[in-house]
Symmetry: C2
Subunit: 225 residues, 2 copies
DNA sequence: AGTGGTGCGAGAATAGCATTCTCGTGAATT
DNA sequence: AATTCACGAGAATGCTATTCTCGCACCACT
């Protein structure tokens, strides 16, 4: 996607203005169409995932469902993984918003953190009532194949937690010498991973950790006293 | 495999003793051969992994390397995932031993825990100097497809950490109300996952957590005071 | 209206892998 | 000697992702 919008930046000043505008007009239209198509792919994939309860769909399914073509798909996405990444980022962004909203309901910094952590825990849990959570079930896959991109996808959440943590620090709630950003990352990952580790298919549910336990553990990790 | 050894269990007591022994003899020989073959597959896979630095090998590669046949492979393994699982379990068992040995060098319970956690952290790190650590890089895959088995594979480590944690508790080093086993699980997973999250390919190394940081975080999570 | 370019649908072709199946052979058992 | 068994060799199958090839419809410009 990036290649097509690359050239203009350099030669723009050498070309006659009318030509620029003409190009821009058709370019804009093209971009619009492209966006719509991408949207359709995204929506179709999302629909399949939530209804099928799995991220194991084939590209063909997405294509059929979106009433477009394979050709088009590969014209707009570098591959299946880009589609997944896009969906993933989106889900995380939405989750971050949701958590932000929930946290805002609390007045105490520590309470905000607690609410945020516990909600994140629930969202990351491999739930039977699947919707967004499904995303966390292929997160591992992505972590393997595209760790850098996953980091980027995590950034909205990391930002959010860093903010909350910084507020806690400002309120003097953290232990001396605490680094808000590091603690935010640590807490976030601890919560997310431990949530995911819970949901096996066997009967060994006795070891499954609860949101409270994890929060307890984490909060001791950064709280004053 | 299960079908062929099914009948004996029932009629065994009705058969003459000599026959039983005869059967047992040939059975034992067969088992021996089978074990050797399995070993060869395992060794070959291990070799490929460490030399190639990835767990993305094909079954064919393993077969070729072990100088056996596909047929044989599928006769001894239910599929590729069983091979991986076997390797995984093995690696974790060895790691557990290694950690146990390292921890034993310390006299204070908390020090033992610290050494254990930090070593575990290093072992789980996506290292360039790859050997056993590589196993942790496909752990996520397995976690997705065979969570129950992964739990089993983790058990040696969990046992180890639970012991260390219990010792700490006995020494009064844990905060009141602490549940050693839960804390052990929590600590273990926190260390492992955070170690893995570190190694991206991009330049964002500034956020990478260190063993000390993680230990610091965890220990605050369970220590008294 | 005609014409060349472009985007795109349809779907065939290719390729990588796991898994299965078939055949033939040599060794062990009877 | 006949039968059975385990196994190697490798062809066959099945599933996907990804690429490629055609041909059509739409658009700007003449």
């Amino acid at each position: 996607m990036a290649q097509k919008t690359d050239p203009p930046a350099n030669k723009m000043s050498e070309e006659p203005a009318w030509k620029q505008r003409a190009i821009e007009r058709s370019t804009k239209a093209a971009k619009l169409r492209a966006e719509q198509r991408v949207e359709r792919f995204l929506d179709a994939a999302q629909a399949i995932i939530t209804e099928k309860g799995t991220t194991d769909f084939t590209v063909q399914e997405v294509v059929d469902r979106s009433r477009q073509s394979l050709r088009s798909f590969y014209q707009h996405f570098d591959g299946k993984h880009e589609l997944l990444l896009a969906l993933f980022e989106d889900a995380l962004r939405r989750s971050a918003d949701q958590i932000h909203a929930a946290a805002a309901g609390q007045s105490e910094p520590m309470e905000r953190l607690r609410v945020a952590a516990q909600l994140l825990f629930e969202l990351c849990r491999p739930d039977p009532a699947a919707q967004r959570p499904l995303f966390t079930d292929f997160a591992p896959q992505l972590l393997l194949s595209h760790p850098a991109e996953v980091k980027v996808a995590h950034s909205p959440l990391l930002t959010l937690f860093t903010e909350l943590m910084t507020q806690a620090e400002a309120a003097g709630e953290l232990h001396p010498g605490a680094k808000p950003r590091r603690l935010a990352a640590l807490t976030m990952q601890t919560v997310m991973f431990n949530a995911q580790a819970g949901g096996g298919a066997d009967g060994d549910e006795a070891h499954t950790l609860t949101a409270e336990e994890v929060w307890d553990f984490c909060s001791r990790g950064f709280a004053r006293r």
